[in-house]
């Protein structure tokens, strides 16, 4: 089942203004993506991992999510040090391990851990409805926000529809194999999903128009001032200056 597991919670981070969180995560990710030096990258990664420890966050869930990245990184460590040629760091039998490969793997590891950890703790903790409204207030085009909210609202409905269709196929004895029948059945399944999504969209849109929809979602959500906001903004600004400084100094 698709579930928005990170957004439920009552940690300190959940209380901070979502707009601030989005901005902080965006600046941090962009900066880390272009950093080169190991001091700045390690500091950034450390800062991001500290965010994971904020009390109240679902630690097991964030850990599970980071594992997706960790598997990719392990694969990278198996490939790059052996194929990315340059000065030889070590030789084990016929296999040689190259320095540039090790360097690059370490860089990618730090960068991706930092970026994903910040994204998970700061952005994935915002309920998507709220995220849409904060994006709108940050200047993202209204149409894109509308699209995001519609898509998000119906992902769960369409997933249920998908499970219903799959159950119907299974009842009729469908077992996926590598043959044309399987591909045809899956294609019809996907086609049916799209057809139902489209007809549902038309019905929903008519119902929305009947209720006076004029292209905008009027949000009742407010972002009340909270002392944590200022502290967060201050800390984020300080961390960013420190990280950029570290990168420049080297």
């Amino acid at each position: 089942m698709i579930a928005e597991t990170m957004a439920q919670g009552h940690s300190l981070l959940h209380r901070i203004d979502p707009r601030l969180r989005v901005l902080a995560a965006a600046f941090f990710s962009c900066a880390v993506a272009v950093f080169q030096t190991f001091t700045a990258l390690s500091a950034a990664c450390l800062a991001a991992l500290v965010l994971l420890l904020v009390p109240g966050l679902n630690f097991r869930e964030t850990g599970r999510r980071l594992m997706v990245v960790v598997w990719f990184l392990l694969l990278l460590w198996c490939l790059l040090p052996l194929t990315y040629e340059g000065a030889i760091a070590a030789k084990i039998g016929v296999v040689s391990i190259y320095w540039p490969g090790v360097r690059l793997s370490a860089q990618i590891t730090l960068k991706s851990l930092a970026i994903i950890a910040v994204f998970t703790t700061l952005v994935a903790t915002i309920p998507v409805n709220t995220l849409g409204q904060s994006l709108a207030r940050l200047g993202v085009p209204a149409k894109l926000v509308y699209l995001l909210l519609m898509c998000y609202r119906y992902i769960f409905v369409i997933e249920q529809e998908y499970h219903r269709l799959v159950a119907a196929m299974k009842i009729r004895g469908f077992r996926p194999r590598t043959n044309l029948h399987t591909y045809r059945s899956y294609a019809y399944l996907i086609g049916m999903l799209f057809v139902r999504a489209a007809t549902r969209a038309d019905r929903v849109y008519q119902a929305m128009r009947c209720r006076g929809f004029d292209g905008r979602f009027h949000s009742l959500a407010t972002f009340p001032p909270h002392p944590a906001n200022q502290w967060f903004a201050l800390a984020a600004a300080f961390a960013m200056i420190l990280l950029v400084g570290l990168e420049w100094m080297d």
Binding site: A124, L147, M150, T178, I190, G191, A201, D202, Y205
Partner: protein
């Protein structure tokens, strides 16, 4: 098919982001308010359908479906795919913020190209439409792999091997996507042809025929 965080260089990320933003702007301009609800739900269906794993021998691949999305939405594929990728990031951690642009280009640029190449052909006679649909599915993945490879190559020339690996590893996916696209297009032609926007030409002709009848 997507590129992970932390791999690509700044200039590549920036140009990917800029191109994706331009594509999304065009897509949003072409989607009027009456069609956004539909695009949103199709995007949700694309999100769900891309979780399906199709068996191939002992292993399985998950579908990408950028060709079909391109046929259905044209330039609207850009905003639809941005939204789906952002939600994938939020719900599953498949990516963060910096690679959003490049990953959008990997799927949406081939989708739009396929729309222009095959959008009209899939409405032709079956003998033309079905091969065109196969080519659409095949080419969409091929182009996606090429864009992904180019992003890696511009980051680091030593990634040539990785690039070749990506393209060759996706050949089975290209064939499967081609077959799925054929059956899907055949299904749409029978069930709801107006899902493929080239059909609007046919739609315009239809009321006249009805009047005459």
């Amino acid at each position: 098919m997507h590129i992970s965080e932390g791999v690509l260089s700044g200039p590549v990320l920036l140009s990917g982001g800029a191109l994706a933003a331009a594509g999304t702007a065009i897509g949003l301009k072409k989607l009027d308010y009456d069609r956004i609800a539909r695009a949103g739900l199709l995007s949700a269906a694309f999100f769900v359908a891309s979780l399906i794993h199709v068996p191939i021998g002992p292993s399985s691949v998950h579908l990408i479906l950028s060709g079909i999305v391109g046929l259905m939405l044209g330039w609207g594929a850009f905003p639809a795919i941005v939204v789906a990728l952002l939600l994938q990031g939020i719900l599953f951690q498949f990516g963060g913020l910096t690679t959003l642009g490049v990953n959008t280009m990997i799927m949406a640029a081939p989708a739009v190209i396929c729309f222009y190449l095959f959008g009209r052909l899939v409405h032709g006679r079956r003998a033309v439409a079905l091969p065109a649909a196969f080519a659409c599915g095949f080419v969409s993945i091929l182009l996606g792999a090429v864009v992904a490879g180019a992003a890696l190559m511009f980051t680091e020339e030593n990634f040539l091997e990785v690039t070749l690996l990506i393209v060759s590893a996706h050949i089975p996916v290209m064939v499967i996507e081609g077959m799925i696209t054929v059956f899907c297009v055949a299904f749409f032609r029978r069930v709801q042809p107006d899902l493929l926007p080239g059909a609007r030409v046919a739609d315009m002709a239809a009321p006249q025929e009805r009047n005459e009848a």
